[in-house]
Symmetry: C2
Subunit: 362 residues, 2 copies
């Protein structure tokens, strides 16, 4: 069933049918109604592939993340989808698995498929950025979810410095004085920014940032556990507050502390970053800095759609750093422990959608 068939059935030309499909004001109301009836009756649905070819745009955007099973990214994806749905766009998601090769090949595939634009979380350090440069050169609409060195483009991300500042300040206000920062992986620019925020907060409160208090961590629970075991072992350090690169590291770190008979938060307060996961449901619920994941996705999609609209005309690069939010739970003290109900309430208030991660099967 094609537009031709409908035209024949209605005794008009395909162009007229096309007119009603795209509700052009030119077509007579009566014929329009008649054609609509026939379309309805035959359940005719236009072929979007043909349409895309004629129109030279597909109405699909590509979203490239490292791993959609990471709750942070899936929430971003939700935000992207939400905006795109309103604007009648569809989203195609690709997982790069942190592999450069996949990232490049995905970008190429999506270009060949004539996606109208791309949102991507790129590899940042120590890789060839040719594909990003090329997007820029071709004026292909795209927005990044993380900066890439040496390329000026649209970027939407959380304000890591502000978040780490908030977290560190929280620890200081709680009376902690020896505060450590457990870093992320070396490749993460975000970890550097969080360290900066951490140090800025220390300085702002007349505490001296000591390099020994910055300890290498990583991105997963195991990394945090390892860091926790090593850190505690080194003699001479007795931190009473720990800011971790992210929640996973914090959880691993806490576990290590427990194994060493250190109590959280009494002996040492621990704070995470992201709040994309399940920190709220640990026995000692994790205090953390919530990334506005949904908003990042929405904003990125909005900006991209805008860029698509202006067809590479506009030159002004937009960099948006969305504010994070402190989510106070139990791992730093300052909240009655065991008050599960109020803790859950507090959590709900701060982190919209934060429970989605817990909706497992049905």
């Amino acid at each position: 069933m094609t537009i031709q068939d409908i035209a024949r059935l209605a005794g008009v030309s395909p162009a007229t049918v096309s007119g009603v499909l795209n509700d052009s004001p030119l077509v007579n109301a009566r014929t329009k109604a008649r054609i609509l009836a026939i379309i309805e009756q035959h359940k005719y649905k236009p072929n979007q592939v043909a349409r895309a070819l004629a129109l030279r745009h597909t109405g699909i955007i590509g979203l490239l993340v490292k791993d959609i099973s990471n709750p942070l990214y899936s929430k971003i994806a939700l935000g992207v989808e939400e905006i795109c749905e309103q604007k009648m766009y569809n989203v195609i998601i690709g997982n790069t698995h942190k592999e450069w090769q996949r990232e490049v090949s995905y970008v190429n595939i999506l270009k060949q498929r004539r996606m109208d634009g791309l949102i991507l979380f790129p590899l940042q350090k120590g890789v060839d950025l040719g594909h990003i440069h090329e997007l820029k050169k071709d004026r292909y609409p795209f927005v990044l979810l993380a900066e890439v060195p040496g390329i000026e483009t649209d970027v939407i991300r959380a304000d890591d410095e502000q978040g780490a500042f908030l977290a560190t300040q929280h620890l200081i206000r709680l009376g902690r004085r020896t505060i450590a920062y457990i870093t992320g992986p070396a490749s993460a620019l975000a970890s550097d920014r969080r360290r900066n925020g951490y140090q800025a907060a220390l300085t702002a409160h007349d505490l001296l940032p000591k390099p020994q208090l910055v300890w290498p961590g990583g991105w997963c629970v195991e990394d945090g556990y390892r860091a926790g075991m090593n850190f505690c072992m080194s003699p001479g350090f007795c931190p009473d507050g720990i800011l971790c690169y992210n929640d996973s590291v914090a959880i691993g770190f806490i576990r290590a502390l427990q194994e060493r008979n250190l109590h959280v938060p009494d002996d040492v307060a621990v704070i995470g970053f992201d709040d994309a996961g399940f920190g709220a449901y640990l026995e000692t619920a994790l205090t953390t800095v919530a990334q506005p994941a949904l908003a990042i996705g929405q904003k990125a999609a909005e900006l991209l759609l805008e860029r698509i609209g202006q067809k590479g005309a506009n030159e002004d690069v937009q960099k948006v750093f969305l504010p994070t939010q402190l989510v106070i739970r139990e791992s730093c003290g300052g909240l009655a422990k065991g008050s599960y109900h109020s803790s859950m309430k507090a959590n709900e208030k701060h982190t919209e959608h934060s429970n989605h991660i817990l909706e497992v099967s049905t």
Copy 2:
């Protein structure tokens, strides 16, 4: 840059270029090499939209789930993507948010976009299944991730009964005698199957299934918490083992038990279902039944691609119920507590990719 341009540049016809693009054996090796060089030099990439129109297939499949930020679904998506990548297919993911309206509209959109096939996790109870019927009638290739009443089609899912049987048996072998089942939401067919498995295990071990021991739960942590509070309150029940519909419910339930000063696993053993989340990292790591999420995605994609290949010819419906696996951690006893390292090891062994959920930001 189109195929025409390349043809002109090479002094051949578009048909010949098309030949080398699809490496037809008909075209001469020398001309092929020459054309290839020109293609390379100009970085020409064929327009897949045009190709799709001519070929009448897009090389894209649609995946519809309730919520991609649910780790179970994102792992399934990973499996789907993995297979599709091998076969040069792309995947477009849609979130239905458990809303019938969205499910229907997504199905229509994806059909109009001429997706070559669909994988969907449909709403199962109390909704109009017209769109599924229509897919079936149109011989549109699709596979479901959950049965839908009254329609015989391909289904790939976990073997819920077997899983619940395994779990219940585990509790029994650990010496538990009063075992309760906390159900999922009323709309979940899977919950009924898990109850069946639970009852079968009881019967198989000469324990009498008592209706009072089947207690309404739900799908999220809050539901489990609520169930835990209510259940404990009812006089006359002293279960020493609890099988929960899923991990989230189990976590909420455990929390409730703790608030009522019941110890897990000493007083009561608790076991979850899915293992898609973070149960491994709780203070009392959660024993659970792992769904083979990745395998479900892979199998579904393989079957779908096969169906696409046979163009609606084959009639035999395939129903595949993949076996689940018991993941023994701490919440039922039977594993030394505090042995974090070995617990993590054990977990790795059982649940491939299970840590992905913990990779938050970089």
